[in-house]
Each structure stands twice: as C-alpha cells, then as structure tokens.
Amino acid sequence: MKFLCVTCDQQMHFTERREPGDGTFAAAFSCPGCGHRIALLANPMETQLVGSLGVEIGGRTLEQQPLEFVRSNVVGKDDAFEDDGGRKAGGWPTWSNAAESRLARVPGFVRGMVKRIYGEYAHERGIGEITPEVMDRARVDLGLEGM
C-alpha cells in the first residue's frame, strides 16, 4: 500500500507504528513535501488480517525470532520449548530480580522468545540491565501486546 499526499502529489513516508495492546494498531505516515501527517487506524479484525501474514507495516524493528509467528499466535503448552532466552556472552544485558519476576508471569510457550526480544531491545540501546521500566518502554516502542 502507498499513501499519497494529494496536495503535493508525493508518496508519504512511513514514520511510526503503535500497537497499544487493545487489538488495534496505528501507523503514521508523513509527507516529505509539506510535512502533513496522517494516521492509519486499524480495528482488531483488520489488525488480525495483517498479523496473519506474519508481517509488520513499515517493516520489522527487531530480528525475527525462531517460530515467532507460531509462538505469538498459537495457544500452546507451557513446556513445548526449552529456551534460555538467548543467553549470550559479554555485553549482553542482565536481568534485575523484579524484571525476572515479571518475566516469570509470561506463559511458558512464549517466555523464552519474549526474553530474547527484551534482551535484543536492551542490547541495541546499550542498556546494561533490564528492569520493569525497560520492559515497559520496550512494550511501547515495539508494540509487544500481552508481553
């Protein structure tokens, strides 16, 4: 899909995507000519239609996780995976006790994947320790509904 600024007759640029956690998503586009901004607001059904393709409008913000679509969309059993969350050597962020406690409440089917996503988010931003505050920020920035 393309968004056209009719006034400037230019294609608008994708600028931002938000998934606030209520099953909807919003994507913002801006005109490079006049700076006019618009937002595409999708209802839960439309959001699901796009999500079913395993794609994100505007492109991915983080590397795709193994079986990410399955783990995000299937109601699976807690012990289906053995996943340490991508424990990596040197420079990989640590987890505070409070953040670990919060992570423990995530269903086992997706917990390891969620841990990887938070870890990569923090690593890319040079954050040394993952705290509940970092998790909150990541949820907003990455649209991690239910994570």
Binding site: Q64, P66, L67, V70, V74
Partner: protein, 280 residues
C-alpha cells in the same frame, strides 16, 4: 480530484509489506538449502492412512540414506505422524532456530502435536468471530515457520505430511518452488480414487511433479488364520498410476499387529526402495 493508481505513484512501497513477504520466502529457501529433496505426501481424502505412509517412507528411508530424513507434520489441526514416529518434545530453541525433535531412526520431526496440549484442538489467539477470514493465512504462516525456522541441518529428504484436501501441495509449492514432487496416497475404493485424482490434478496445475502413487489398506490379513483378502473393493492405486503415467510405488496391506507401527513389513520395505529409486 483525479486519482492515480498504485503503480503510477513513484517510489518503493513504504509499508514494506511486499518486502517482508519476499523475505519470508527467502528465509525458507535459505533454510532448505541443506535439504536435497522436499517431498509432499498428499491425499485428497481423509482417513486413507497418509500419515502412516509418510511415517513408513521416513522410517524406511532413514535406514538407507546417508544424511538423514526429516518430517514436517503439516496437518496442523489433526497432527498424528509425530506420534507414529515416537517424536518427543520439548523443542530446543537456539540462536540458529528451533531444533527438531528426534524420532525413531534419528528422523527429525516438527509437528503441532509437540506444541499444543494433548487431546486439545489447535487454537489461535485472535479476536472473537470472523476467524474464517484469516485462518488460512495463519496456517500458511505456521507451515512457513516449520520449514524456515527449524534447524533441519543436512537431509537427504524432507517429507511434508500434508492435510487432506486438494490445495496442500500447490500451496507448498508457492511457498517453496523447489519441491521435488509429491506422493499421492489412496485406498483401493473408487471414491478415494476420484478424490485423489482431483488433488493430483490441482497439484499438477500448481506445478508440482507427481512422483508416484501408494495404495494403502490394500487388503487385510486375518490375525487368526493368516488368510489375506480385500478390505475395500476397487483398484484405485493401479488406476491412478495408469491415468497419470507414474509408478505405483507400493500396496500396503492393513495390519492389526502392534509391530505395524514400526513400518517394517515387506511391503513397506519395497515401497521405500521404489520411492528412493524415483527420487534418485
């Protein structure tokens, strides 16, 4: 105001949806670079023992090939082949992907049966209602990840146990065009033959090569007296092979003995030998 079409507006698509969909296919192709042959096992009709034949092919081939055999259980709603092969979870996640479960004969397996609760239906996280709109896309997404996100390693053959229906092999070929072909499974009955013929035609139209036909439940041996007789009237296996000009890879009798689960009967062995000959 005069509107312009999508193609008249210059510049790349800023939504990047097409880019992402192409990247998904590339991911599958890259992952399967180490697999020599991808083969679909299909049937238009449910209940013909397609998964049993798939397991027999996998079990037999795994004893004869060098690198190994993998099985993707693409029957997401009614997965059975992983149990037949005695595959167990949990699946180990690494930075390279998800390691498949290792079954009998070191067959590498991935199946929805390993991921969802026992005796529970496949259930998706989704808004209430209208699920028919996106269910197909979700199932295609799951199959795509089973192919592209599992660390299959080097394999001689990766068998895809498709669900009943006419479109499975065609959809698989759209996702992974390098598929070596498909094996069609039928039972002897005329009804099954008609149904499987439809599936074969749909697959051929989708560019999938038909490698051969297997007739399952082709007669039954009495456990008490040992006499052998027909279980169903008809000869759909021979007829389909002739109609489509492909080999009848084998006729597998219905067995009641528990040992049948290990797929070691003489008919299964002959089936596997012919299957590997066709693949060579």
């Amino acid at each position: 105001m005069s509107f312009r079409t999508y193609f008249e507006v210059a510049g790349a698509d800023r939504s990047r949806l097409e880019h992402e969909l192409l990247a998904q296919r590339d991911r599958v192709a890259t992952r399967l670079n180490t697999v020599e042959r991808v083969v679909a096992v299909m049937s238009g009709k449910g209940g013909v023992g397609k998964s049993h034949v798939c397991a027999a092919l996998a079990g037999g081939a795994a004893r004869l090939v060098q690198q190994g055999v993998g099985v993707v259980d693409a029957d997401l709603r009614s997965p059975t082949v992983s149990r037949m092969l005695d595959a167990r979870g949990p699946l180990i996640v690494t930075d390279d992907g998800v390691s498949p479960a290792v079954a009998i004969e070191r067959i590498r397996v991935v199946s929805m049966d390993l991921l969802i609760e026992d005796r529970q239906p496949l259930s998706w996280r989704e808004p209430d209602g209208d699920s028919y709109l996106w269910r197909g896309a979700q199932e295609a997404g799951a199959l795509r990840e089973f192919l592209g996100d599992v660390a299959w390693g080097s394999l001689d053959v990766l068998l895809i146990d498709l669900p009943p229906g006419a479109d499975g092999a065609m959809d698989l070929a759209a996702l992974y065009p390098n598929i070596a072909g498909a094996v069609a499974v039928t039972i002897p009955s005329e009804e099954s033959g008609r149904s499987v013929a439809r599936t074969i035609r749909a697959s051929l139209a989708g560019g999938v090569t038909l490698l051969g036909v297997v007739e399952n439940m082709s007669g039954c041996t009495c456990a008490a007296c040992g006499s052998h007789g027909p279980l169903f009237a008809g000869s759909a296996g021979d007829e389909l092979a002739e109609e489509f000009g492909v080999p009848l890879l084998g006729k597998i009798p219905f067995r009641t003995a528990k040992t049948a689960s290990r797929f070691t009967g003489p008919e299964e062995k002959a089936l596997v030998e012919r299957f590997l000959e066709v693949l060579a």
